[in-house]
Every structure is written in C-alpha cells, then in structure tokens.
C-alpha cells in the first residue's frame, strides 16, 4: 500500500472520453446517478460574426477528470457528524457505511463533488482509491482504464518529482481549502483558477 497516495491528471492529453467514469461504475457496481469519478467539461469563449461573412472566435474547451482527492485536510471528514467519513492510515478517505446516517453534509461541503449519495443503501459513497486493487498491487480501475494514459496515481512525492507543482487551473477550487492530493498538468488552453472566462458546460453529465 502507498503511504501518501495521490492522483495526477494530464489535461493536455485528456479527450474527455469518460472511460474512467464507466470503468469505475462497472468495478463498483454503481447505481444510475452515482458517479464516483466525474469528467467535467470546461468551455468558453465567444464568436464574432463579421460583415464579410466570416466568423472569428476564441473558443476553448478542455476536460478535467476527478474522483476524490483524498485530501490532506478533507472537509468531508471534518463536517461528518458520525466519523463515518474518515481518512485511514493509508491516506485514503473512506466511508464507514455502518455508521453513516446519510445526512449529505459531506456532499454539501466537498468542492470536488466526491461524496455521492447511494439512494438504495441510504448512505454516502465515494471513490475509495480502489483500496482493494491497491492491496493486490493493481492500479485503480480509472488509471488502468484510461485510453490516453492521462491518469496516473502514486506516492505524492514521486508524482511531485515527475510532474512538478500542480497547476492552479479553472474550474478547480483553491487547493489550500482541503489540500487535495491531486497533481494537474494543464493543457494549452488552460484558464487560471477562479477565471470567469468559461464554465462547466456538462452539468447534466456530472
């Protein structure tokens, strides 16, 4: 098991194919509407129709795939009244479903939308970093699934060495809030964090 696990996403090569979302749904038998990994489409820019019949534009779009960042200072853990949401010794934030009361407080608080309510079971659920796969020495389902190899996982320090500091990129929230264990390599069109230039244009999919 890793000591300080983290994810890395290369936004520059991610084509938004959503294979990671489906691989996760299949592996965890998720019900309709529950998405432990979510690919958000961030798009913006506008068009100008010129009088000469041409158009100009500054359109951009990119995708960011996030499941749970198993944060160092997870807001879901601090707000959870039952301690069902907890960070275990391997750094993975897990839901103890024997304690969870399904109050949605974690869902209210997480700026990455990681906690997902499982209506059938009446408890919260979320990415568990494929803790069972990790114990077998296998990568998480999403990482193993990605056709463009845009997802990586590993020890936080190793990823930092490989990829450098994480980019502060829209639409991600300020990492100082929860200290996510997530490294982001931006693409060519990346917009700075907090930029009002674009918006998440696929809310119906996440």
């Amino acid at each position: 098991m890793l000591k300080h696990p983290a994810f890395h996403i290369d936004v520059g090569t991610c084509t938004g194919c959503k294979t990671c979302m489906i691989a996760c749904k299949d592996k965890n038998d998720l019900a309709d509407g529950v998405k432990w990994r979510r690919v958000s489409e961030y798009a913006g820019g506008g068009w100008v129709k010129r009088t000469d019949g041409t158009v100009t534009q500054d359109v951009f779009a990119y995708y960011i795939s996030v499941s749970c960042n198993h944060c160092e200072d997870p807001i879901c853990v601090s707000v959870c009244p039952t301690t069902a949401m907890h960070k275990d010794e391997s750094g993975i934030v897990l839901v103890d479903t024997t304690k969870c009361i399904g109050c949605h407080y974690c869902e209210w608080a997480c700026p990455y939308r990681a906690p997902q309510y499982n209506a059938a079971a009446g408890v919260m659920s979320k990415c568990n970093f494929c803790i069972d796969y990790q114990r077998e020495g296998k990568p998480p389902a999403c990482v193993a699934a990605c056709p463009t190899r845009s997802l990586t996982f590993g020890e936080y320090d190793d990823l930092k060495k490989r990829f450098g500091e994480s980019a502060l990129m829209a639409p991600l929230p300020d990492p100082s809030i929860t200290k996510p264990n997530l490294f982001v390599t931006p693409g060519r069109t990346a917009k700075p964090m907090g930029s009002g230039n674009g918006s998440i244009s696929n809310p119906e999919e996440v």
Partner: protein, 292 residues
C-alpha cells in the same frame, strides 16, 4: 423552488421557534412576575413539543436514521455533531425544567435548570448557524446565516409566546391580568421587532454573499432572484403582514381588548410562519458549491 430539503426547513424553523419561545417567555416571566408566569404556564412543554417535532422532522432528511446514535461521534470537528448534542441537551433541559417547576420534589433545581435551558437554547441557535458556515458554500458562509436563525427564533418565538399568553388571558377581566399581558406583549413586540430587523439585515447580506458565480455559472443570488423571485418576495411580504397583524393583536391586548378575534392572532402567527418557511426553502436553495 426546489423543495427537496423540507425536513431541514421544518427542523430548523421548529427548533429555532422552540428556543425563541423559551427565551422570550422566560424574559417575560422574569419581568412580569407570577401573573405573567401564570399566563405563560406550560411554556416549557410547548417549547419541548415544538423542538421535538422539529427533531423528528430532521430524521426525514437522513438516509440511515437507524445509525443516528453515531451522530454524536465527531464533536471535536463537526458542527453537525455539536448541533445534535446541543438540541438534545436543550430538549432534555426543557423536560427537566418542566419537572423541576411543576413537581414538588426538585423545585430547588428549577432555577439552575432554567439557566441551563436558556444558555443551551442560545447556544443551539448559534451552533445551528455554524453548521451552515461551510467555506465552500459562499451564500451560506456569512454573518447573514446567524442573523437569519436568530431572527427566526426571536420572531417566531415572540409570536408563539405572545399568542400563548393571549389565549390564556381571560380578557377585560381585571386589572391583575392586564398588566402582565401588557408586559408579555410589549416584550413580545420588542423581540419580534428585533427578529424582523435581523431578517431585514440578513436578507441583503445573504443576497450579497450569494452573488458569486461558481464554475458551473450558477450564482445562488441569481437563481433565487430569477426562478425563485416570486416566493422570495412573498416571504418578505408575509413576514411584514404577519408581524403587522401581530402588532395589531398585541396592541389590542395591551389596551385590554380581547374583542379582537383570536383567528387574527392565529392568522398572524401562521402568516409569519409561512413567510419564514418560504424564506428557509430559499435559504436551502441557495446552496451553491464552489469548485467543480
């Protein structure tokens, strides 16, 4: 108006009303003496019933209510844990207060228990507001939330206290009950006024706090003022109309006149409550997360 958080709407309003009723009626009793206490007899039980029903509503919000005992496990970090503890202690103290006051055995403990109930009641409203001070929910994360809850507690608590006394009050009967009713009503008017003032201050503050547009292009304020504009305006209208009706009833009582139909009093209460409910639905509709 989404409407899906109705258990929490009724939970928060009823518990706040419960606290407000206790606070206002206890202060009225302190200033109004035995006659006031007589008019406000059973306030502990009314307060308890309101709070207990509210707490029962909160279970409707839970996916696994059978796990509820675990909800006290994170007092160290979770305001929700603390809220449940506070509410529980408050309700327990109301039971204790009723017992100590109305049975002979524990009369000596009545005063300390009353202090506990008073303080824990105030703490409950404060802790409740802190539950919503989530740094990732800008529309909630402002002083407006505490003002909102305090305002609701005072406004609804005052009306409840005033009406409780009003219905006990026999009317143009004698000088003995007029002064207590006048005392109770004037205090109720004062606290109701404070509560309404708190609402008038918190509404613009919360709308300002909710202006921020998140990455999904959603602004809590924009959402509530476009799709939810009708109910939002209606909320304010109802609060004003309800309070005004109560002022009318209170004034009539202070002039010793119980000719005013009690339906007006009930109407004042229900209208104000309806306004508060609309406002609370709007509050929950303003949950907009930053980030993804």
């Amino acid at each position: 108006m989404v409407g899906s958080e109705w258990p929490l709407v009724y939970f928060t309003i009823l518990v706040q009303m419960s606290v407000g009723l206790l606070i206002v009626s206890e202060v009225a009793c302190l200033t109004g003496g035995a006659a006031a206490r007589d008019l406000l007899r059973g306030r502990e039980s009314f307060s308890f019933v309101l709070g207990a029903v509210g707490l029962a509503f909160s279970f409707g919000h839970l996916g696994s209510p059978m796990h509820s005992p675990f909800a006290l496990f994170n007092l160290a970090h979770s305001w929700l844990s603390r809220e449940i503890l506070c509410t529980s202690i408050f309700l327990a103290s109301l039971v204790a207060l009723a017992i100590t006051r109305y049975t002979a055995t524990f009369k000596a403990f009545a005063r300390p228990v009353a202090v506990v109930a008073f303080v824990v009641g105030l703490a409950t409203v404060y802790v409740m507001s802190q539950v919503y001070m989530i740094v990732t929910v800008p529309a909630w994360n402002s002083p407006a939330t505490l003002l909102n809850f305090v305002g609701a507690a005072l406004l609804l608590g005052s009306l409840a206290a005033g009406l409780l006394a009003y219905f006990r009050w026999p009317g143009e009967d004698g000088a003995e009950t007029r002064t207590p009713i006048a005392c109770i009503m004037s205090l109720a008017l004062l606290f109701a006024g404070l509560g309404l003032l708190a609402k008038f201050i918190e509404i613009p503050i919360s709308l300002f706090a909710g202006l921020e547009t998140n990455a999904r292009g959603v602004s809590a304020t924009a959402a509530v003022l476009t799709d939810g504009l009708g109910p939002y305006v209606l909320q304010i209208v109802l609060l004003i109309v309800g309070t005004a009706l109560f002022v009318y009833v209170a004034n009539a009582a202070m002039r010793g006149n119980k000719a005013v139909l009690s339906m007006v009093g009930i109407g004042a209460f229900l209208i104000t409550l309806a306004g508060e409910v609309l406002g609370r639905f709007a509050f929950f509709d303003m949950h907009v997360l930053i980030g993804l």
